[in-house]
Symmetry: C2
Subunit: 209 residues, 2 copies
């Protein structure tokens, strides 16, 4: 497979294969679920032998946990929770809402959420890990932004953390719920834009001084 010069007695190929295994596991677990994904399939998709999989990850549950955590880190959002000087309030909130809406509507995010809700019911530690790696950070950033907005007097927000939760719940809204249930397709870009404008306007009306 590799005709490169051998790089010592260590484990030069480990990282590449480990990465390939994780990538294959992520894809298979996300699309097929935990039970329907066999270790054979992971090994085949990663282009390695099954025993190689077991040498890197002790068992199926460990591999699953590692794959989920790796996917969580990919989900790290590049949302910026800062308030540019002189920007209009509505535009600031709209930018965040658009970014968040795109994030949660991605195929990977939907499948990851389903997987954690399903398998996490028997192993809550995954839900905990996911929540702290993703939603909790987003909420913290939004909380800080809303606190600043309150201090500037642009909105009247007594509890910024709760307000941040309300904000993201509104942005997710019924479309995300239907998406997770599998009974609706993702919003087209025009519909998504309409949705975020509506909820941002609602949010501003509710917290107007």
């Amino acid at each position: 497979m590799s005709n490169d010069a051998p790089t010592g007695p260590g484990r030069p190929k480990d990282l590449a294969k480990r990465e390939a295994i994780l990538e294959a596991a992520k894809a298979l677990f996300l699309s097929l679920g935990y039970a329907n994904t066999s270790m054979d399939a992971v090994a085949a998709a990663a282009g390695v032998s099954k025993l190689t999989v077991y040498s890197h990850f002790t068992d199926k549950q460990t591999l699953f946990g590692s794959a989920v955590m790796a996917t969580c880190q990919n989900q790290l959002p590049d949302l910026l929770f800062e308030y540019p000087e002189g920007a209009a309030l509505e535009e600031v909130l709209l930018t965040i809402a658009r970014g968040f809406q795109a994030l949660i509507s991605s195929d990977e995010a939907v499948k990851l959420t389903r997987l954690i809700m399903a398998q996490g019911s028997q192993d809550p530690s995954l839900g905990q890990y996911f929540y702290e790696a993703g939603p909790k950070r987003v909420l913290a950033g939004m909380e800080a932004l809303l606190r600043g907005i309150d201090q500037r007097g642009l909105l009247r927000i007594a509890n910024p953390l709760r307000a941040a939760e309300h904000f993201f719940c509104l942005v997710k809204g019924a479309p995300d719920y239907r998406l997770l249930l599998g009974c609706a397709a993702p919003l087209a870009s025009a519909e998504a834009e309409l949705h975020v404008r509506e909820v941002v306007a609602l949010f501003i009306r509710a917290f107007k001084p």
Copy 2:
């Protein structure tokens, strides 16, 4: 087993056994998930033989679908979407919010949602059925109520259906999201009351004329 008089050549015992099988399947699927629930376990829990299960339901998927649909019908809410004459707007919305919050926080509802999101990703027809049996009806009732509230001039609601979606999303909120992820316990009654009061107040502020 039965020393009653035989009731003809028909299938007198079918319905009772079918009900027992459905009940056992509901409990097992909800708590263990699809893959971890064996037909043996269902038969044992129902007090019948495995072949009896197969005689009533052709295969595991059919049994699963029937159990999910039966559970959906149990979830029929007794929320009343009517506006008593002379009642205060906030109290009307609070009553609905409390009932809805209790409904979605029940153990059965949480497990059912998880199950449908997980298994429904490969069989979207279940998600469709569930949505129309549950959320869609609730939304329709709330839409009618909000239209009436708008016509009385109590609130200014241009799109009652969208407003209803926003309302229930707010009531669900972050607590329900964390509950589904498995990383938080259900709200204590005092916390739940605080939550519904907060979101109802938010909703009213947002739609005040």
